[in-house]
């Protein structure tokens, strides 16, 4: 009976962890796309891209092969300039900070969860 309990709690922890791992993966992909947008802020015809977070998370959790449906294009048609580029540096920098904060928060939760698992198994 006791063993069963332990088994269940470990499974709960590992479910949380796989969720957090997926979130970290999506956040790091998003960081790549945002870096690309900033690098190409002055490139003619370059259209910004971003990840639709929830759809991408779902895809990673269900272990589907990633497809391009979670990446959205042309997010700011009102920003398009004469050179057919729609990137606003300030907006992108804001997104970079938001994304990295969320990444760090998830990372903190993840490391706490690992520490809890360790102390539960007596390896703290």
């Amino acid at each position: 009976m006791r063993e069963l309990h332990l088994d269940r709690s470990v499974r709960i922890l590992s479910h949380d962890q796989s969720m957090m791992e997926a979130a970290l993966l999506v956040r790091s992909t998003r960081a790549d796309l945002l870096a690309e947008n900033i690098a190409n802020a002055d490139t003619p015809n370059f259209v910004q891209r971003d990840v639709r977070f929830e759809a991408a998370l779902q895809q990673v959790l269900e272990q589907q092969s990633s497809d391009s449906s979670v990446i959205s294009h042309n997010l700011a048609p009102e920003n398009v300039r004469v050179d057919r580029n729609d990137i606003d540096l300030n907006q992108q920098l804001g997104k970079v900070y938001e994304n990295s904060l969320n990444y760090l928060a998830t990372l903190r939760l993840y490391s706490d969860s690992v520490a809890r698992l360790r102390s539960a198994t007596g390896n703290a």
Partner: protein, 137 residues
Amino acid sequence: MSIQSILGIASSALTAQSLRISLIAQNLANADSVASPEGGPYQRRMPVFEAIPLQGDAGVEGIGVKVAAVLRDRAPARATYDPSNPLADAAGNVKQPSINPVLEMVDMLQASRSYEANLSTLETARNVALKTIELLK
């Protein structure tokens, strides 16, 4: 965080933007150059930015940017009347480069703004990577 690809992407942009700034410096320095190796007055140079896929060990690692070409301004040379100049033509006109210093300065501000944005991306990626490495402690 795929720190390598962000490093690659942002540094390609730093390279491109600094080339842009050096072309601006070249244009400003030659605002009064009436002679050039190609003959005629100096022609304003401008970079053409192009998005390029960056090749890494595991295929494409993000989309960077590069200066695909450096083009010359096709605007006609500005003619100033200066008959005593040895380069003056029969009518006494000397061809001057058509460079607008205000335009160059505005372009330079934009280039340095873009450069800083990429630096700050690099810094954010670095901080996040350091925090991730701390997990190994």
